[in-house]
Symmetry: C2
Subunit: 392 residues, 2 copies
């Protein structure tokens, strides 16, 4: 373990290890070797260039190429990854058969590690995704702290609005306030196809613009090189603005969206928004350990349909196939509350629930909050007023 | 080709294609299939979920899963990637043997595509990296436009300084001004291990803090979850501040760093900074098509040593092993001006050259600009005053 970890983190890393090690055995390998930033951070508390070698029992070893100067127990400075077997041998340890991060490593890098193992490596990404999906109490305390900070900032968004602004101008001020409040900004997404800057601010019909990405709503974006989010829509009376900017205060991403109206919200807007709040409340009321994630998605769809929003729920035409998703070190952790999800909620899951409805000609309405799954139900980690706030 | 491309882009995509297609043949395959955002943007002008199938001769075909509604010649809507062979067959085309993006696709995704090919797929990432490293005249015009906007913003940084600020507070204002000027913010890095938000602002001894990442200088960062860049150093008289925030005005990243001093710069600071400017000038003077990238690195090292900066050039202890790098759709395109680089400069390369010197107890000094390689030498795409500017 690295030196100088905080008194909360050091024992927590042991807990995470205890969750990972039994899974290594069931992959029929002797160790899992991790190289990518999120998994290194999760298992060691640090990000470094090198790898973590975690055996199915006993102590993990950390091999650090960069930064120079990191110290700790079972921490080894290396010049390149090929030195790992020799260092292990010197420590009297068998190299063993390895699992690697098949969903994170590139195709071309995998063989470089696999050939160091005593047998062709197997894919162990799922083991880490599963471990990360069930947060420890300490991780939840970090997310609770981050969520409170996130919620506080959202309450300040209205003060940035000035009549005549575009969605982008409003977004810039919201982003800047998030950064000033301490968000690190970095938006980590699992997988190599989704990209976004800090989040999206969707106004008017741009809220329904289809995007390449698997986000809840898309937006056309400002440029073909980043086809997501705000698109320089001028914010005009009668429009709604859905602000969905993630926060990253401590590495753990919290997700919270709120809806604003330019000028007074119409009856139609208010009804649809309240319906979205009610959908979220229905999902929250039904959610507890053991409940199927697909059933929660279905419950949201059914509730939306009851309100007459079947065709406008989660997009027009191209719809998101989920109403919620795990979040943590990545914005898209397990489980997914979506179609064909085989997962069941477990205590320690942290999930964002984000029912959103499109009103053609107006924009999107809806809410999103990040919740921790407890033994008895959900705890809202981003508590703030869910009602539409008028911008003026 | 997609419909409604700009009149400059459509013919430019043909030029890029003409550069890629001969390389497909020499990989001994019939087509290259691309899935990742940067390569889709480079070859089609769009980012989408799906793939581009580019045969060694004839027309490329584009298979779009999302967004719905994209139209064009040889553009096919699909529900999943497995439909590609049948759609090709229907169009009277042989599926052929494929190259895939081995350096971008994950190990677990690769087989899903490879099994659609008529033979096990081979790695074609290098072909695209090489094509992207030689920009067309149109791409350079985009980067020239972006670089000018970037340079203009840098001149405004001093007005954000207030005595008593931290590096982070100063960074936030510089970032916000870049965003307000139109930067899309997204910082694309090739590979799955380097991460940064918009760039770094390094003050005092934090400039020498070793980082896990292969950037020119590191910085400890604000949190173990993002160990790079500013670290809440209070900006005090006598310190230097090196601002290295990339710009992304149109998908093409320009890289430009400038140095500021808190209060008047000492003689020592001025000398070292001028030496860095001179190192850049020496590299620029030597750089033209046919020159070895490693020799330019060596020239920079030698020039630094002549000034007495051998030990403090490009870091203390842990040093960057390069003084420049290609930039474009990724911040780290080919070629690298570094140790063991086998590349030679070619017309159309766009490279950032960034000599930086550490002054212990003070900070870093140095400059970085983005240059296009022309037939006769280098054109600076980020022209702005290289001198140290005093913040007060």
């Amino acid at each position: 373990m690295f030196d100088a970890l905080s008194p909360e983190l050091a024992p927590d890393l042991r807990r995470r290890l205890a969750r990972i090690q039994p899974g290594i055995k069931s992959l029929d390998v002797d160790a899992i070797v991790l190289c990518t930033p999120v998994n290194l951070l999760y298992t060691s508390g640090k990000i470094f260039s090198g790898c973590a070698w975690i055996p199915h029992k006993g102590e993990p070893h950390f091999f650090v190429r960069r930064p120079q100067g990191l110290t700790g127990t079972n921490v080894h400075a290396i010049r390149n990854i090929e030195e790992v077997p020799a260092v292990l041998a010197k420590a009297g340890l068998a190299v063993g058969r390895w699992a690697l991060e098949g969903e994170e490593l590139t195709w071309s890098f995998w063989p470089r590690l696999s050939r160091l193992s005593e047998a062709p490596a197997v894919n162990g990404s799922g083991l880490l995704r599963r471990a990360r999906s069930i947060k420890t109490a300490y991780e939840i305390s970090l997310m609770r702290d981050a969520g409170l900070r996130h919620a506080k900032i959202i309450a300040t968004y209205p003060r940035h609005f000035k009549p005549g602004m575009t969605d982008q101008q409003f977004a810039l001020e919201c982003e800047a306030s998030m950064r000033r409040a301490g968000s690190l900004g970095l938006f980590r997404i699992h997988g190599n196809t989704m990209e976004i800057f800090m989040g999206s601010v969707l106004a008017g019909d741009n809220a329904a613009a289809a995007s390449p990405y698997d986000f809840a709503l898309g937006g056309a974006g400002l440029d073909d090189s980043m086809p997501v989010g705000q698109n320089n829509t001028k914010l005009l009376p009668g429009m709604t603005v859905l602000v969905d900017i993630a926060a990253n205060f401590n590495g753990y991403l919290t997700d919270c969206s709120r809806t604003f109206s330019i000028g007074p919200a119409s009856k139609e807007v208010k009804r649809a928004h309240q319906w979205a709040i009610d959908i979220q409340a229905a999902v929250v009321a039904a959610a507890k350990p053991g409940v199927s994630c697909e059933s929660l998605y279905q419950l949201a769809l059914d509730t939306a349909a009851q309100g007459g929003y079947a065709d406008t729920f989660m997009g027009l035409g191209q719809k998101a196939k989920f109403i919620g998703h795990g979040t943590g070190l990545y914005i898209n952790e397990w489980p997914v509350l979506g179609a064909r999800s085989a997962a069941f909620l477990e205590p320690g899951n942290v999930i964002a629930i984000e029912p959103k409805i499109i009103l053609p000609g107006v924009g999107a309405v809806g809410v999103e909050d990040t919740f921790a799954v407890t033994e008895t139900g959900l705890e809202n980690l981003t508590p703030c007023d869910p009602q539409i706030v008028e911008l003026q």
